[in-house]
Symmetry: C2
Subunit: 410 residues, 2 copies
């Protein structure tokens, strides 16, 4: 990994901020409010955190000293003396890296987690961590060189498999064998010269949709990502739930049919064997070759391989075999989600990932299955919706992850 | 409901305690420590809650004024001046009521949640709330008359269906139709003259096993109760997770086989249609009548009906049809638990309820299924065990529920 974005940074402000953390819960609360709500007046912030004018002044002064926040002119009058505005330091930059099975997304955000720049590059995760992170860091360097950042104050990284969260190390990831035990957090932290946190890609998607997408203000929800594989982010009381060993949400091998297809994992009838990006590609090629879908056969002849996008396009063109594949897949994943809804009783189910290009046909069959199979008490007010953020859900969640960390007391 | 345990109470101490609640988090912490650890010295409590001697003295004095705690002599010397012991008021009494589908358990505990007396009575929950609570209150009165309590400082109540927790009202409970919307909390609170909380029976079982049973010190676990129906208590970070509408853990209608048995709920292949106390009774009677099990046929002829206990006894006597019923049931429930383990990645799975009389044959087939179907990362260190508390799990959890409430700031 030859890229070191730290080399030409060296600004005093950045170095000071990098070691700065809020000293107490009040300061953490103030940073969170400024991140989620943008610049605000001291007076209004004082109301929100329920601190007296003098106590607020103490905390704000300490935060100003850290360089994490700056003064931002005078606020509009509320009657009486005008209050001073404060905001998060405008030079603060977070890096979000979202490693998928077949592509890498990299984005730079400001302190309010707005995506200032975003790059996507195809990449097979099986090439291993060294190659993948060389790619990701060169994308980060490109964004930096474009003037979006002088350096990074923190980075969040998502990988498509279970992660031992405290250490930031992938554990026995089925689709990325070369990554087992690779010290992602430590290595990237050294390369980038900033704090780094690593999480499962689906957890980051959930956090992204929670921060800026369809799950804003929902406390308990599920975020099901259907890409090459299938995973589920679980949010309980506003916090991602990772489970005892970091594998919570690993729903791809839940059995949907005891007499179903055999799965590479050794069991039969696993969800992923019946529906996922990979299973759909196989089924589409089979439909093309068997003559069931002339539409897919044309596409297969032209491209040599098929994917979810081909099935989506063929379905739009009225291809019945493709429509059937989507419906059948939606039934299978809907069957699993129905069970999870009965068990978890969420306030919202978000569907995301590459396969969501299949759109409303997929969503309709998922909904049908869930509303039919789960109990009315659990589905009565349950929205099942597509994610809003698309490709930037994961990188937004990555920035959220690291900012949550940096904006909480050390 | 003609019984009013408040009538002859009237002790000044009790009335004072009934309105007493800790004023802040320190006091709540002290009450919790005394409940879970028993009497303790001021010095040691001060260390545990990290309060200075003088601040501790203030909080302890305030708690002494409420009557919730009392002085308890001098502690053993730690060198220097001997510290004073304190403890929870020895007259504090909690009532736990656990309504099952076919029986009622009532217990009285002291402040440390030790069961001082426990009664069980067969009762069909379908007789409705008025009849069931008359029964429960007469059992409570009997325990009281036996000298175990002069009155109750709080009561926890479990019902076998989903509950709108804040109001303490059962909602659309499938096996107890007459209970829908019945104001259990309000009605019982008036009858008993003390604060009451109502929860799902499985949540209480989970809290009981957490407080005094096999789940002590486990943060994230599942408690699967297999009785007439099947339900699951979910504990996240030491707290019961109830879901958005209070129906979390309602796993009886998760589909185990798309081409399985038809279920009264209208779907096919629901877990409860394949295995539960009720399904097992039906299958056992069918095995008796069809001649597959002479052992069960003898028992059916003698008793006119069969239950889990008959299957257990027949299996112990070597009856192969009964063993097969248990194994097949264990496979079905194991299949669902395998999915939940993949999804939730718990640190422990507890199996409880009446059907656990089937013992280790059942447990073995559940384990086999879970260890085979869930991913190794989720099952590597996962104990799957029977509950320890048996019939008092629910009532212990009920006492824990109300004491958690009374021992937290109002």
């Amino acid at each position: 990994m030859g890229i070191s974005p730290t080399q030409d940074r060296g600004r005093e402000g950045q170095l000071r901020r990098m070691t700065a953390r809020p000293a107490n819960a009040h300061q953490a609360r103030l940073l969170g409010l400024l991140r989620d709500g943008g610049p605000n007046s001291r007076a209004q912030l004082g109301d929100l955190v329920e601190l007296s004018r003098s106590k607020l002044a103490v905390e704000v002064d300490r935060l100003l000293e850290t360089g994490l926040i700056v003064a931002d002119g005078l606020a509009a009058s509320r009657g009486g003396r005008r209050s001073h505005n404060i905001r998060l330091a405008p030079e603060l930059r977070f890096l979000g890296i979202d490693i998928g099975a077949t592509s890498v997304d990299v984005a730079v955000t400001n302190a309010e987690l707005e995506v200032l720049g975003h790059l996507n590059h195809p990449m097979d995760v099986r090439e291993g961590p060294v190659a993948v992170f060389e790619q990701a860091l060169s994308m980060a360097a490109k964004l930096r060189a474009g003037g979006l950042a002088e350096g990074f104050d923190g980075a969040g990284i998502g990988v498509p498999g279970p992660v031992r969260f405290p250490e930031g190390v992938p554990v026995a990831p089925p689709i990325m064998p070369g990554w087992d035990g690779f010290p992602v957090r430590e290595a990237l932290s050294q390369e980038l010269g900033c704090p780094v946190l690593v999480d499962n890609d689906v957890n980051l998607m959930a956090m992204g949709e929670q921060h800026a997408g369809v799950a804003r203000s929902v406390g308990d929800f599920l975020c099901v990502k259907i890409g090459t594989g299938i995973g589920c982010g679980i949010v309980v009381g506003g916090q991602v739930y990772r489970g005892t060993t970091g594998s919570a949400g690993d729903i791809g091998h839940i059995q949907v049919d005891p007499s179903g297809r055999s799965c590479p994992c050794g069991n039969t009838g696993c969800l992923e064997a019946h529906f996922s990006g990979a299973a759909l590609a196989r089924d589409a090629e089979e439909a093309a070759r068997s003559g069931r879908s002339p539409e897919l056969a044309v596409r297969l002849a032209a491209a040599g391989a098929l994917g979810a996008a081909d099935v989506a396009a063929a379905a739009s063109a009225g291809d019945t075999a493709s429509l059937e594949l989507i419906r059948e897949g939606g039934n299978r994943v809907g069957q699993v989600i129905a069970g999870l809804v009965s068990f978890f009783n969420p306030g919202l189910v978000v569907i995301g990932g590459g396969v969501t290009g299949l759109g409303h046909t997929l969503l309709a069959s998922i909904r049908t299955q869930v509303y039919r199979q789960s109990l009315p008490l659990a589905t009565g007010n349950l929205p099942i919706v597509l994610g809003e953020l698309g490709q930037v859900a994961g990188v937004t969640g990555a920035a959220r992850l690291i900012s949550d960390h940096l904006f909480s007391p050390a």
